[in-house]
Symmetry: C5
Subunit: 353 residues, 5 copies
Amino acid sequence: MKNHLRQAVSKIGQPPGTVAVTTTVAEPPGISLLTYTATSLEERYEQPLAACLEAIDPAAVNWLHVAGLPDSGILEEIGKHFGIHALVLEDLGSTHQRPKIENFANHTFMVIKVIQLDEHSKRLTIGQFGLILGSHFLVTISNQKMTSFDLLLERIRKKRGWIRELGTDYLAYAIIDLIVDHYFLSLTHLDTALENLQIQAVADPQPEMVPIIHGLKQDIMLARKAVWPLKEIVIEIQRGDVPWFSKAVLPFFRDLSDNLNMLIDLMEMYREMATGIMEIYLSSLSNRMNTIMQVLTIIATIFIPVTFVAGIYGMNFKHMPELEWSYGYPLILLLMALAMGLMVYFFYRKKWL
Amino acid sequence: MKNHLRQAVSKIGQPPGTVAVTTTVAEPPGISLLTYTATSLEERYEQPLAACLEAIDPAAVNWLHVAGLPDSGILEEIGKHFGIHALVLEDLGSTHQRPKIENFANHTFMVIKVIQLDEHSKRLTIGQFGLILGSHFLVTISNQKMTSFDLLLERIRKKRGWIRELGTDYLAYAIIDLIVDHYFLSLTHLDTALENLQIQAVADPQPEMVPIIHGLKQDIMLARKAVWPLKEIVIEIQRGDVPWFSKAVLPFFRDLSDNLNMLIDLMEMYREMATGIMEIYLSSLSNRMNTIMQVLTIIATIFIPVTFVAGIYGMNFKHMPELEWSYGYPLILLLMALAMGLMVYFFYRKKWL
Amino acid sequence: MKNHLRQAVSKIGQPPGTVAVTTTVAEPPGISLLTYTATSLEERYEQPLAACLEAIDPAAVNWLHVAGLPDSGILEEIGKHFGIHALVLEDLGSTHQRPKIENFANHTFMVIKVIQLDEHSKRLTIGQFGLILGSHFLVTISNQKMTSFDLLLERIRKKRGWIRELGTDYLAYAIIDLIVDHYFLSLTHLDTALENLQIQAVADPQPEMVPIIHGLKQDIMLARKAVWPLKEIVIEIQRGDVPWFSKAVLPFFRDLSDNLNMLIDLMEMYREMATGIMEIYLSSLSNRMNTIMQVLTIIATIFIPVTFVAGIYGMNFKHMPELEWSYGYPLILLLMALAMGLMVYFFYRKKWL
Amino acid sequence: MKNHLRQAVSKIGQPPGTVAVTTTVAEPPGISLLTYTATSLEERYEQPLAACLEAIDPAAVNWLHVAGLPDSGILEEIGKHFGIHALVLEDLGSTHQRPKIENFANHTFMVIKVIQLDEHSKRLTIGQFGLILGSHFLVTISNQKMTSFDLLLERIRKKRGWIRELGTDYLAYAIIDLIVDHYFLSLTHLDTALENLQIQAVADPQPEMVPIIHGLKQDIMLARKAVWPLKEIVIEIQRGDVPWFSKAVLPFFRDLSDNLNMLIDLMEMYREMATGIMEIYLSSLSNRMNTIMQVLTIIATIFIPVTFVAGIYGMNFKHMPELEWSYGYPLILLLMALAMGLMVYFFYRKKWL
Amino acid sequence: MKNHLRQAVSKIGQPPGTVAVTTTVAEPPGISLLTYTATSLEERYEQPLAACLEAIDPAAVNWLHVAGLPDSGILEEIGKHFGIHALVLEDLGSTHQRPKIENFANHTFMVIKVIQLDEHSKRLTIGQFGLILGSHFLVTISNQKMTSFDLLLERIRKKRGWIRELGTDYLAYAIIDLIVDHYFLSLTHLDTALENLQIQAVADPQPEMVPIIHGLKQDIMLARKAVWPLKEIVIEIQRGDVPWFSKAVLPFFRDLSDNLNMLIDLMEMYREMATGIMEIYLSSLSNRMNTIMQVLTIIATIFIPVTFVAGIYGMNFKHMPELEWSYGYPLILLLMALAMGLMVYFFYRKKWL
């Protein structure tokens, strides 16, 4: 969230609608174009923008994908070619928009969050994915690499499912569906992490667990902020409020809606689990303390009184009759053994042993 | 919930509407058909699907029950015979749908959860139950064995109640009612478990209790997720929004609605009880700690000062006049007894003894 | 709540609408009939049902009261005489209905909860009270003895207030009002119990308090489940949605509504108090622990160092010059006193003494 | 709240609408009348009711104020003179009404709570204030002394503000405004008390603080129950739903509404503060425990090992070569000093010193 | 909040609508006027009010800014010149209004909160900012210095963005946007503070952290109270309900709304973080306690039994055969070493070492 703060702060006093690109990805963005109809398919990868824009065929489905964060020049060129609103271009330049949908005269604009697992820190990272859907084009801008696009390409190439028969709106649906499937993939990590933590909290409570649990809780919260607004977007599409989605595509969003509901259920459950693990951890700690104190108390209680008795007969008084007795020493040893046995019995009855 | 994750993840990049069956039950599904009117009754158990479909009588109530998870071939055959929507078949193939109702042109489709108690782990298991209700047929697909169907069969055979007079919609109601009755049965376990835990939390708090309490809390949460959406389904039916339920059957759902409300009340109460037991456990732990420390403190406080006195007279100084006194030893013993008595009195007044 | 579970479980597989009476009261129900107009009054107690039904006068107010749980024969006879719906009779047979109101063609049916204090266990018990209100009759079925009916009888006999001038609807109001007054009576117990617990939690925290506090919390929760739905019933009546209550009677329900609001406020306050007492208890426990540890620490810290010094001069080395000194012994005593004084001063400055 | 319970309980079985006065103020109520127009002003204090009622001038603003709880005779006389509804009189007789507004044919009736600080117990007390507003009269009944009325009298006498130009409705507004100003005054106490408690919770956590904090929380809750319903009343007046308030007066209620919103914000903040102080207190307690245990551990750990060494050389074995050495004693002293130094270094590195 | 209480209390008994200025800023307010059109720009700083009012040009955008709290004379003069409602002037005189918008016949009035970080106490301070927007004028009154106005002036002077083309409404938007940007700036502090506290809570839990965490929580709460009502104001403007904002300006508020939503998300996250840090702190404390007790227990348990053995052989009994043995001393040393080794092994197996 700090990036977002920095971006907001850096724009203080700037007039709105300025295309100010906050570059977090160093490498230049890769531009690809996919043009297909039910019968034909053309693929262009890593080509200059101008060449792509020229190749756009108004009679086909045109998917222009920009990987990485484009500079403002590219954004403005795309904007000019497709007649995209200036405020949309501004939003695309920033990487910290909330998921939203906005309808314009000749296109609809969506921002969706991409959730991915950072393998190193085991924390979730939230990326931004922008979609601009028009009658014959779909422009997507992703500031994170998404490997699973290959599966979608396979479906387009091999004509699997409805993808080659339906238009840009189905393509948009297929991409959103893919992103939501990614959400589940990211949550698998949470699932495993939480189960391991629960086991550890019982068996071996360590102070290092606490910040990890809180980190997971924050991750769940971040994921919630990605999923909830997307659900609202999907509901709006399902209601038929977004003209760029045809009636033929709407039923597919029913499935998406079900998946998002399940995600929300899952996250709620994970949240509860995290809270529960924290409780288990704290009670394990309390329990361990009890065990420690029990050991100390048993040892101290058994030995302190007899040590006192030994101390008495270590005194150097001239007149201590017991010291002269022949059986004084064995008698006192017996007495001590008795006292210790009594203590042991007391602890046994208290179930401390 | 992990199964669900695995299923969602395995479908990444797949086109929607593909009948992908996630088999968790190894044995082949058993197919049964019950055909009855007010006067006649035919029962067919464990027969091939084709034979069952052929025997369907449009003038009677036809209940086709598939126990276990059918493979996609069976699902498609049933779908073709009754004209069931492709997306419904897809949902039936998956075992992790949320409870829902969907109305189609010639049938209505419901998913309901079956809650059963796993005798071994003492945890609740959530199964899925699909109903497809048409004018003259009811197809049910259950991925769990349900023994209580026998009671329903008895009612059909012996013409008890309205079941032979009313149509497929009443049969659907009777099955849902049976499933809800099962919910209560499963909750009996929670009831007993919670009461035992509460008693144990007071008498003998053990660290093993904490994960059990959290397990029960998660079970209650799972059960809630089965009951809440079902309540919404029942309300929708009661409002008359589902055309396949006739007016004659609607009043029966009033009772079902009352039962679901009571279930929700019960689960809320169980949840509060679980939270309360956790609190009792923690305060029992604190209390036990207090007792342990009290014992240590009493013993240490009584013996440490007198041990010090004994230490003094154990010193080897040449000139220690007390050591020479005839009554030195008994005097010092008296002094020690006095000091110990004082301590005991102090603890007695503090109510620690 | 367990009774309710048992009842629901015992009905698995039963057709709905069967009058299955769950008898928790052993003795046979007592049937009484009160028939009055503005001028006349006839009272019949503990008479057979048939005699009562015969004596009903359509021109007067007829109050048929069944104390205890009637068997299904009685219920069916009453149902036939007054034309009461079969589902109402079924509800009357069960003792664990939620408070509700249901309007039928020739009567309205209400279920209300009676809250009473079990003198032995000091826990609240929730009973059920059924009212069937028609144009000239009021049938009430109570599965608990209610002593305060005598006060109502007095008002009827002595024509106090409006009761003899208004019809069956006012009688129904008067009875509900009496039951709500009983709620307050039951809550007096909670009030006293909570105040005593609060005082004890500060002065003398005992582990036995924790289950008592949780028991009170559960009682408050049970009472809430009785009061909230009743409030909704009263609001429905006030709105004029129940045809059997005439306009003349509606203003009286305003008062009832105020009382129920106050009850809800009270219960919320009791709930907060119970939570607060738990917090006070736990902090008292923590505090006591602090005191215990402080005593141990003070005693140990004062005596351990000086005991060590005594130990040094108890060693048997041949060459220990101090032992030969004439003033060795008094010097070492002084040193010890000094060390102990220093410790005492340290604790005094730390405010531990 | 107990008074309220007692009152409710004492009315069990009573017909509604009976003017049953619950007297908590012993002294007879004082009756005053203020009659004023833009030009004239007549003041009558502590006069008999009959004289006051006679002096009422239908062409002027008549403010009849009853201080203390009137007996039912006075209430009935007032009721008869102004045509006040019987149920209003009943409500005025009780002192535990919730704030509410009720419109009648020739007057509107309001109950408002007066919050005052009991100087002795430092707890808030909640009084009741009744207003009956008609076209030319305003009857107010207060069961608590309110000193700040003098300021209002000054404004009437000196014609400050709009009070002499506008009618009875503005007078009613001015009185409510005064009462709300009193709420702020009472909250000043909470403000100071909470800040002092916060400082004490950090510096010197005492068990006596816990019930005080919970007392403040209950006071805040009581105040909330006074303020929230009043806000609803003011909103109803602002909407113009109360015919007895003219359009000229409505804008003034905007200010009142703002003040009530601020009060609600303040109380929410106080509530959070109280919860925070409790948390600070508990963590201070934990911290103190840590300090205590640290002292004990340091002392014990430094002296226990060396005491053991001294014990060894205090043994009386015949053959202990070390005892014969010339430098045995200084060597062993050095060894002990070393061991103690090591322990001190260990604690220093653990930052316990 | 105390200031607010003091102000409310000081006004008890005052007639409403009196311009009572609560001066918290000692220095006289500075009055500035900016008059600009698309082509011309006139700036007047720190001039007398009369001169400014005279210079107002109805054909241009006139921004009259009053820095610091004006006295009632200035407020009344401004009020008379622009025809501002008396109640608005009263609100401007007070410094503790809640954010709100009020529409009048010839102007709209807004109160917005300014959040700034007090560099000394590291706490947020909330200031008030009043805007009165008419057709050709914008009056702003700020009781805090705002340095970032310079950036806005630059935009006006250099004609950057739309500011010189659009009217007073756009100027009002630009100012609100600037204030919201300030909110983000203030929150950067919270962000850093919370992260540092989290690290410290794990590494080095100190009791001083608790009041700091609670201070941050209260700051977040204060900020929430500034942001939430502002969001409602912006929504009202966006809906087109405020006539003084033209259609050309409305789209800009979309951005503002997005920013406010992000602020709310951020604050929610900070709140959760603060709660989490408190939890981490408490569990760190518990953990430290465990470590302390472990050290004590290990040391005590290893040395207490062997000290007892040494005590036995320090007794002065005449007949103690062991003392005479040639190898008594080394044997007993071995025994002690063995006992200590056993204890160490026990702790090693319990993983306490």
